[in-house]
Amino acid sequence: MGIKLKFNNIQKHFFGVTALDGVSFEIEEKHTVGLIGENGAGKSTLMNILGGVLLPDGGNMSLDGDAYLPSNPRDAAQRGVAFIHQELNLFTNLSIAENIYINSFPSLKKTPLIDKKKMNDSLKSLLKSLDLNYSPSTTVENLAPGERQLVEIAKALHSDAFLIIFDEPTTSLTARETEKLFTILDQLRSEGRTIIYISHILGEVKRITDDVIVLRDGKVTGNSETGLIEIPEMINQMVGRESDNLFPERSAKPKDSPILEVKSLSQPGIVGNVDFSVHEGEVLGVFGLMGSGRTEMARMLFGVDTYRSGSISIDGTPLPRNSPQSSIERGMAFVTENRREEGLLMNVAITENIGLVSLPDYCRNLVKWVDAKRMNEEAGIIGDSLKLKASDIRRQPAMSLSGGNQQKVVIGKWLMTKPRLLIMDEPTRGIDVGAKYEVYSIMDRLAADNSGILFISSEVEELIGIADRIVVMSQGEVVKVFEKKDFDVTALMAAAFREAVA
């Protein structure tokens, strides 16, 4: 088999940060290659160069044996390279079909008009194969994040590219969708396409790739056949040290006194009769399939969305409806699942982002003078404790961080409020193993300090690893609450599918 793609000494610097420092490796044709590395290791940057989004500062590439240097995404597409970005790249005001066909609309019998029927018909089976049960003419605005990610995938599958890049495609997908995606990847491979697959979930990488490339600080630190390398070794190559524990030991046991009590919360069509409580020192996991209503429930709890009936109380006192501000005053914190749109002020400095929620705590006197110095210091400390990888956190905008580090900023801004109850919606999505461990440790520390944590996740393993109890939701209702002793992957999955629950 020939060489599909060759990187030779690729360099890329941003504002003094070295993102790629002489990256060289080759990818064999028809292989599926895993690309792994810590947050900020340079994976997305390398792919952006490959996809024509960025130009390298030095080095060269060759594709199919010819020199290759795309100056924009169109060039890349013409050379048969398709790219599913880490950040969703969809037009929310257009339909699914239009997003997929955005650059290749079929025309109606030699007129300049679009053949809508053809376009929509041709996609029906594709969407079905992805379990995306929407008409192709549905506007993307109406889709949940996970569903949007499926559209991105559909977009790449639909192109006839022979080199397809997946940059963390499963971050918004649950187990079932991920399985689906893997079947599709298999199919692509059998069609003879070459795939680059970036993920922080090393199990996935181990399972589906032929080769693994490891990046650390912009350099290649590992390059081997997947069969010849085990996960601990991958981690070793990624972080430069051994690590056997994926989850920290829980340092304290939950108390009996409840912090959050939710009683028959309902909103017609969305959630119904949700009852549960989070206790002091407890990590309460929430599991469910995509679209099971976990996010919506969390948003109601925090006061972002309205609900029709039921009660939410913190420390025994009911919470006013629909006011994130008073939720925060009562000690709640909320890491949303959508960091780009709801988590960060993208072009604002990192410290400002971290300080945003706790601003009132750094204000003096009547005019609410902000003590910027003190705030920046504290934000810096939080940043350090999260091992945030940035060159100058007072000036650098959040936008310039790697995906995982952005997530850390979001978590950081809530940690700064020293929350009593922290709601985390898919907080480990897109962050590397090391950072995940840190997030779990943070949860543990908070719990040990008597805070409560509501931890929404689609990864059963991490819930089992860190939660004290797990609530399983399906179709907007709480199906079952599992005690720690009953934790079991199959039982949890079964509950999520509502099998044998009755």
């Binding site: 995404p73 969809l90 005001n93 955005i102």
Partner: protein, 327 residues
């Protein structure tokens, strides 16, 4: 279920329903208002600003703005006036004046896409310079147009459609087809929604943005010409302030200044015609002229309020239902 569909229908068409209601209310207050002739007059008086507003919609869709349309109208009208006075035949004169519109649009586009100057400033510049150049030509003296031009406003296409309404209709249909059914049209929405993502998706944003300003300039010149056929005279203030009317019509029709949202039909057309209709209604019902703008702005405010309530309600209705519908 039926109920819900009705609700949805009403919500989707509130602006149109309000339009019809207003028409009826004015009709009750002044029965002559309900005539076919009146409708024709309203449409005919909407056409020139409507055409400009259609062009403006294109620009707004990409998140831009075109303040120069009023000056473009003036400059191109002044040129055609000068050419006619110099003895040019009508057809090439019209062609030249439209070309001037295209040229102004192209200059806007160059300043915006090549020099990377924000649309507001870029078109503010062409607005002042354009007006200055027009004044340079006329020395502020009004330009009168011969009957051969003004008689065009009485031409009926197919024997019953007034020329200006016909052209307006044509512009609307073409624009609608372009925006809804062509590749460039859909890509325009994409660019307005997220320019960075559009770039990444491989869309050629620069020619697209250029085209919107060219279209806007062209329609400004065309609208200006339609206006001349109706009023026969171009004085130094011709077109000034029309940029705001055009933007207002488009925004009333639902276009967003942030880009990505808006439609030519019903949106902008309804916005334009609605303003014209209220204006006519106020004259029909003989409201004290000091109160005209007051009543007009209250009605527009109400229309926009209704629209935002409706959008909120629609969003709520279209929220996905997660729970299984039991029973």
């Amino acid at each position: 279920m039926k109920d819900r569909n009705w609700q949805r229908f009403i919500l989707k068409n509130t602006t149109f329903i309000l339009f019809v209601l207003l028409f009826l209310i004015f009709g009750i207050l002044a029965p002559r208002f309900l005539s076919f002739k009146n409708l024709e007059i309203i449409l005919s008086n909407s056409s020139y600003i409507g055409i400009i507003a259609v062009g403006m919609t294109f620009v707004l869709l990409t998140g831009g703005i075109d303040l120069s349309v009023g000056s473009t109208m003036y400059l191109s009208a002044v040129s055609s006036g000068t050419l006619i006075a110099a003895g040019w035949p009508i057809a090439p004169t019209i062609a030249v004046s439209l070309l001037i519109g295209i040229a102004m649009g192209y200059v806007n586009a160059l300043i915006i896409t090549r020099l990377k100057i924000v649309p507001f400033l870029a078109t503010l510049v062409t607005m002042t310079v354009g007006r200055g150049m027009g004044l340079f030509v006329t020395k502020s003296v009004q330009v009168d147009f011969p009957d051969s031009i003004t008689l065009m406003s009485t031409v009926k296409v197919f024997g019953f459609i007034p020329l200006q309404i016909f052209i307006f209709g044509l512009v609307v249909i073409l624009a609608m087809v372009f925006l809804r059914l062509t590749k460039s049209g859909r890509q325009l929405y994409a660019v307005g929604n997220d320019p960075l993502a559009a770039e990444r998706a491989g869309i050629q944003t620069r020619p697209l943005i250029t085209s919107t300003y060219v279209i806007s300039g062209f329609f400004a010149a065309l609208g200006g010409f339609i206006s001349i056929t109706q009023i026969g005279r171009v004085s130094a203030g011709f077109g000034s302030g029309d940029e705001f009317d055009a933007i207002a019509a488009a925004v009333l029709g639902g276009a967003s200044l942030m880009g990505g949202v808006g439609s030519v039909f019903p949106g902008t057309v309804l916005g334009t015609v609605m303003i014209q209709m209220i204006q006519a209604g106020l004259v029909y019902t003989a409201v004290d002229i000091y109160l005209h703008p007051i009543v007009m702005s209250l009605i527009i405010f109400f229309a926009v309020l209704l629209d935002s309530v409706r959008t909120g309600q629609l969003k709520k209705m279209e929220r996905r239902t997660i729970m299984k519908i039991t029973s």
